[in-house]
Subunit: 556 residues, 2 copies
């Protein structure tokens, strides 16, 4: 069987100008980065009357398992299928992070015959957006320590600096550091650490900004730490916001690429879905909606994290109103949620499947709570049996939704044609009555409780009094109206990564809260959240290299 | 008077395809990065028969002073002037580092009417080359600590790791750090630190590599540290070379931009001129020579550092043979070398000028020692008086060289027409008899002594016995044949930055030696060498920002 890289290489790419023309983007608005990538110019974005008023379709999934679900692959396959059916469709994806490419993960550009191209470029430096975000993050960090070095007129407490440095690399050695060692010339030693770039608040800001002015305003609101008296110090206090915005200016223009079948895809931004909101940029999504009849986009992890944040943070902030939701599952992953070990997933087991289906069913119900019609995409594996597929379809029908078995991995858009038709039926029926889960006016602690109760189905939330006091402080500081961004494990509805299926009676423990004042949300940390991954024993990097023709091998 | 940024903005840029056509680069070989920047494809580089056999002109300077000399500006002005005279000329420059842009320095793309454009792009992320270099540097660092974390089968001694992390930022807090703190999951704590990207050996390798294969081979030879027994451990031992090469693949293609007057310029690579060799990439220089009749390029700092390394390291390694050398000076800077304070430089002072001219004279003689005909470019300031100009011209005539007063800053190429004619006369006379200063076969310590004696005019070199032993160890390890790269202050011929003019009787103290096995040289550290700058009290970053049209303000 051909690898993703081999399939990607065998594809014939069309010049990006041709893809742009198909998408309705004029040549003059195109900023090429090589022959097959381009950014779309701001002037065009701002000056252009919308060609269409696209409907927004969110692709989300069950809680991920080691069996794999294929959310990005399904997003691409669905977009290709819609285009093949004559519905003008734009695909909106996140940009992959460089770090994980060298670890275990490989690329993040779909798979099989449902990929965005050129895969090597998108998985490595692409158009440099993440590097720009890293630079902006680290310029602010340098200006913090430089401010202290030169007299600290703002009175920053070195012990209370919360801004961390960033790097787009899996490097556990940088999680906890001491910096400014070596004597007077190097500053005041303090504890510090690095997050991977996708975990930076700059990334979240980048993805929520509606234009350059909004970008700079948000950057200015970043709180980097406090004085001894607890008074917040911002990036604007340090006069860092302008230079940070300058570093991000070009990056903020969305990136256009193509799928194997030539569908246009905007791949732009990519925040973590735990301590940030986990979806692509507002700039790209809005551009897509102004150009296409349907925009298909994805959110990170399972629907409890990614979709909830997409709806409560991104859609709320940007005024977006999705028309439908696709929940991706596989027979194999559902069997894992039903207790089957990975080695046994190839064997038919309808009973285990039915047990595991509670996970899917709960995600479907949750999306319906947001007022969204749902279609289930059952991403095909060769081991799926007719009885297993029928069991899923039957259970989903009982929830008023349709489960469509799709083969886009092997067959491209053709394999997702039934899924596309099902999605179009729900869009055309105009059933969506989208509303965020909670009003802006709800107190922050109640927002956390609402998500825990309604989405995670927790029986209770544990908020220690010190943390409750900090939430009240955020409210007093003028951030009562912002949504909450809950950081918990992606593997379970609960905070326990081993509790698969649809756990009940669990308690959500809030261990820490942080104000992302620039992004415009309060992060509630519930469990161990890794903001700087490490490399495995045998990193993928060891196998990556160049072949005799200068092509890149070992990315997958 | 218009600022550099204002002048740059007022210029009308030509589409990069037009510039490429003028340079002889076909459309098919062009990889556009926006409308005014492009990379030139490897396939083209390799497959193309040389259109020309260009002559190479090095632009270097006196020891820099606070008065400013204008080496990049002169390189651009000379290139424009040569093109205007009908000599097909390519300009080859270094890429600016991002870090200093936010400090005091401002941009590094020339000045006045002798600039390369688009200046904001080139000074900020440009085509992402430095970000790729930073990533490759830090992937290796992550793989080192990851190797130790997972059992350290190579037996690396954590205390003897010499590979440092990198960042393209002026950040003194990162000079000396402790990493891997925080417990078992984060690795083994050790002392570490960051260098600015331009100081990384990866940058030096990038600039000396002749193709992708050579790049990867050099990366593999990088020594990251040793075992307890002193056995070197390389990037290839860690299997990091392939992934590093993959990260650098696209970056290795030279970048094409234009001057205000539309001359083609290759701006590619930019190593420090102290711990590295300080000139642009071999890839770009060779591309230029295959396309143009004359290639004008510059080297960092003064001729004692930049030119010496250009000639003894880059030209030796790449088999280049320059046809002439331009030494840039200003009347003001020469007066500073003659003891005049900065505030008094506006007043005519022929006596001080004559005293300071010893600095220029020695550099001219040094270049002549390498077998190169020399022209002196006297970069005009409005305060220059006829008597001062005449004094320089007279002194230079006595050395068999011509000093040409040029006004390219104010007048563009027209202002450097006389300089261009002087350079062409020397090239056409075919006087160059280039030879490096010392043969490959000389012992490493003798190579250091030769540079110190012949170029710095030191009376002696101090090499402590422990350091002499390390040099012998390098020789035993198979690196006897490599050139030396001396890292000392750029402000003086000596190791004392306050000894202006032409000091004699000084002793060069060798404080440390390091083997850059991948770059292919031994660094001799003579004095305090800063590999991670800091930001000043009022960083330029505080004034950089976006205007209402989204343009970048405050870069200069």
């Amino acid at each position: 069987m051909a690898s993703d890289l081999e399939i990607a290489r065998a594809a014939t790419l069309r010049p990006i100008g041709e893809i742009a023309a198909r998408a309705g983007i004029p040549e003059a608005a195109l900023i090429p980065y090589g022959k097959y990538k381009a950014k779309v110019d701001f002037g065009f974005l701002a000056g252009q009357a919308a060609q269409r008023e696209g409907k927004l379709v969110l692709v989300t999934g069950i809680n991920p398992t080691a069996a794999g679900e294929g959310k990005t692959t399904t997003t691409v396959g669905l977009g290709d299928a819609l285009n093949a059916l004559g519905t003008k469709t734009m695909i909106c994806l996140r940009e992959p992070s460089l770090g994980p490419c060298f670890g275990v993960k490989g690329g993040a550009t779909g798979g099989g015959y449902a990929q965005v191209l050129p895969m090597e470029d998108i998985n490595l430096h692409f158009t440099g957006d993440f590097h720009a975000i890293t630079s902006a993050n680290n310029l602010l960090a340098a200006m913090i320590d430089n401010h202290i070095y030169w007299g600290n007129s703002l009175g920053l407490d070195e012990r209370r600096i919360t801004w961390r440095r960033g790097m787009d690399m899996n490097d556990r050695a940088l999680r906890a550091t001491v910096t400014s060692l070596g004597g007077v010339a190097n500053g005041f030693p303090r504890e510090d650490g690095f997050d991977i770039t996708v975990a930076s608040e700059v990334m979240a800001i980048f993805c929520l900004a509606t234009d350059l002015e909004d970008l700079q305003a948000r950057l200015g609101r970043i709180i980097v730490g406090t004085t001894r008296e607890g008074v917040p110090v911002t990036a604007r206090d340090l006069k860092a916001d302008g230079a940070m915005a300058a570093l991000l200016r070009d990056a903020l223009a969305p990136n256009l690429v193509q799928t194997i079948e030539g569908s246009p895809a905007l791949v732009h931004g990519g925040p973590f879905a735990n301590i940030a909101h986990g979806c692509n940029s507002v700039m790209a999504t809005k551009l897509g909606l102004s150009l296409a009849d349907v925009v298909v986009t994805e959110a990170g992890f399972g629907a409890d994290l990614g979709a909830e944040k997409f709806l409560d943070i991104k859609c709320r902030s940007a005024g977006l109103s999705p028309g439908a939701c696709v929940v991706v599952a596989t027979v194999r992953a559902l069997k894992m949620h039903g207790g089957v070990a990975k080695a046994a997933l190839g064997t038919e087991d309808v009973a285990a499947l039915r047990r595991g289906m509670v996970n899917l069913a709960r995600h479907v119900e949750n999306m319906q709570k947001f007022g969204l019609p749902v279609v289930v995409a059952l991403n095909a594996f060769t081991s799926d049996t007719p009885a297993e597929i029928a069991a899923v379809q039957e259970a989903m029908a009982a929830l008023g939704t349709e489960a469509v078995h799709c083969t886009h991995w092997a067959d491209g858009g053709r394999g997702a044609a039934d899924l596309a038709r099902a999605v179009l039926r729900r869009l055309e029926a105009g059933e969506a009555r989208f509303a965020p889960l909670y009003p802006d006016s709800l107190p922050l602690a109640e927002k956390i409780r609402t998500v825990a109760r309604e989405v995670y189905r927790a029986s209770d939330v544990q908020i220690p009094s010190a943390i409750a006091a900090r939430l009240r402080r955020f409210e007093e500081q003028g951030f009562a109206h912002v949504p909450v961004c809950i950081a918990k494990t992606q593997y379970s509805f609960s905070a326990d990564p081993t509790a698969l299926g649809a756990p009940t009676g669990h308690v959500l423990p809030v261990r820490d809260v942080r104000l992302s004042a620039g992004a415009g949300f309060v992060v509630a940390i519930c469990g161990e959240i890794m903001t700087m991954p490490g490399l495995p024993r045998r990193p993928a990097a060891e196998s990556i290299g160049l072949n005799a023709e200068g092509g890149i091998e070992g990315l997958f």
